[in-house]
């Protein structure tokens, strides 16, 4: 009797949100998967095209390359930032964490636009450098890989900083004292104790940055040139410019499967070994 009543409560509570997701999220995605292989008869032609045409192969390669470079720079910059935050008193850390949290929730479009204003040929960076006499001709800072990387690293750094910070904070301070009392210098303690213990955090951050980077659309569209077209941009191009729906479906499905597979790896390998990242 009791069990039955609980079941009804569950149906009332979970029914509407699950139905909503099924209709507006799961069904459209399944339609994409279906549409990539049935057009209207079963075919793998659109996947073959993706592999066979060199231009498209290059888009995949560029996507991976930009994703990997973004991950690398996010790790190189995010680690010191997290280390710095971990070394502060909890009060100061809370205050300075706002520098990481607040931009994270600001409009991605606005942040990309600001980078365009800063990096263009007549932008602030170039004018400042010209004014100081550091350069004599404006540098090409955008419509190329450099511009895309600067903006992407800027936007994805929080995904690195949060897991590394929680890994660093989870290291008992006694370990550092023990290492020092055994005669190790600050650098040796860092290299032999702190860094190895924080590596799971770096791995988690790197995977997250890479996963999110693969799906980037706005930054390569606004700050990249034709040579920085990533998968997302090719998908948009196929749908809105050439109206090749099945091909766009095949690309979207590839991106979807790749993302989900990596996310699965992330959850399996790292969850449980890490304190929660504190991000929704």
């Amino acid at each position: 009797m009791r069990g039955r009543r609980v079941d009804w409560a569950l149906v009332v509570l979970l029914g509407p949100p699950l139905l909503f997701l099924l209709l507006l999220f799961a069904f459209p995605l399944l339609r994409v998967v279906w549409g990539s292989v049935f057009a209207p008869d079963f075919t793998l032609a659109f996947y073959q095209r993706m592999v066979a045409v060199p231009v498209y192969g290059r888009v995949f390669w560029i996507t991976l390359k930009i994703g990997l470079l973004t991950t690398l720079f996010a790790a190189l910059l995010g680690y010191p930032a997290a280390y710095f935050l971990a070394s502060l008193s909890p009060r100061k850390r809370q205050a300075l964490l706002l520098c990481v949290i607040v931009p994270f929730f600001l409009s991605v479009l606005v942040r990309n636009y600001v980078w365009m204003v800063l990096l263009q040929r007549t932008g602030l960076v170039n004018r400042t450098l010209l004014g100081w006499g550091v350069i004599t001709r404006p540098l090409d800072l955008m419509y190329n890989e450099l511009g895309v990387l600067i903006a992407m690293v800027n936007m994805l750094l929080p995904y690195m900083i949060f897991p590394v910070l929680s890994a660093l904070l989870a290291i008992p301070p006694d370990l550092g004292h023990a290492s020092a009392s055994l005669g190790a210098g600050a650098f040796r303690t860092f290299w032999r104790v702190t860094l190895p213990l924080s590596l799971p955090g770096v791995a988690a951050g790197a995977l997250l940055v890479f996963i999110v980077a693969l799906g980037f659309f706005i930054t390569p569209a606004l700050l990249g040139g034709p040579k920085q077209m990533m998968i997302s941009n090719l998908i948009e191009f196929s749908v809105r410019q050439v109206l090749n729906w099945p091909f766009a479906f095949a690309l979207a499905n590839t991106l979807l499967v790749g993302t989900l597979a990596l996310y699965f790896v992330y959850v399996r390998l790292l969850e449980g070994r890490l304190p929660r990242t504190g991000l929704p």
């Binding site: 699950l18 459209p28 010191p80 800063l118 979207a252």
Partner: protein, 254 residues
């Protein structure tokens, strides 16, 4: 080494905030070129924005869509979190993952999927279509926030209320809801922010008829770099900061 890392870390934190903020002084420029420190500071660009019927229509539409999303996503997200909190079996993580999965799927994939399906049922270019799509993206935030609040909630209070004769609806509004009120409110603010800033999915499904503020900004960036954009950017940033401040204060208190 401490000092070197400290300096580098502080520089990285500056790299995160300073560029975004640099748009604020620019927005007070009256000239047609971008200046970090305006030579004749004023509200020219803001006046142009609020005087433009085209921009005002887009702003109004964005607010309308964001309000609709707030209501729908908050209601669905709260229901989902309440349901989730009653499950103790091994299915819970699976269900949890399903409920927040729209945050993992790349926006372009959902954009194409929604565009295709919505165009077949006439939802492209409608406010309803935008509200539905934005709610898919916003409601995981509500689920996570309310779930966290429910994790610290004493279930026996509900049982006490029920045993004293209150029905499930009465129990929810008199016992459960007061405990999770702040999380629900925070989730609503989040949902508004997600919808108000959303651009990738909106780009596809807004059509030419119902462009939101971010989509108009996107068009302006691509086709006519205008000095009005820093002012609009500043307003969009200010809106997010206003929405997030209560959340950050709440986070500090707890």
């Amino acid at each position: 080494m401490k000092v070197a890392v400290g300096v580098l870390g502080a520089l990285v934190l500056a790299f995160l905030v300073v560029p975004v903020l640099s748009v604020i002084p620019m927005s007070f420029s009256s000239s047609m070129v971008f200046e970090l420190i305006p030579s004749e500071p004023g509200f020219t660009q803001y006046r142009r924005f609020f005087a433009s019927p085209e921009w005002m229509v887009a702003l109004g539409r964005s607010v309308q869509v964001a309000l609709g999303t707030t209501v729908l996503a908050t209601a669905l997200g709260t229901l989902a979190a309440l349901g989730l909190s009653r499950i103790r079996s091994r299915w819970r993580p699976v269900l949890e993952a399903a409920l927040i999965s729209s945050r993992i799927v790349p926006s372009i994939v959902f954009a194409v999927a929604a565009y295709f399906v919505f165009s077949q049922v006439g939802l492209v270019g409608t406010i309803l279509g935008l509200v539905l799509a934005h709610s898919v993206l916003a409601f995981p935030f509500v689920v996570v926030l309310v779930s966290t609040a429910l994790a610290g909630f004493d279930r026996s209070l509900e049982e006490a209320s029920r045993s004293l004769g209150a029905g499930p609806v009465r129990t929810f509004f008199r016992v459960t809801f007061p405990q999770i009120r702040l999380a629900v409110f925070g989730g609503a603010l989040f949902a508004f922010n997600v919808s108000f800033d959303e651009v990738v999915v909106t780009l596809f499904i807004s059509g030419v008829r119902s462009k939101t503020l971010p989509v108009k900004v996107w068009d302006a960036i691509l086709y006519e770099i205008t000095p009005i954009l820093p002012a609009i950017s500043t307003l969009i940033i200010a809106a997010s900061v206003l929405l997030l401040t209560p959340l950050l204060l709440y986070r500090r208190r707890s």
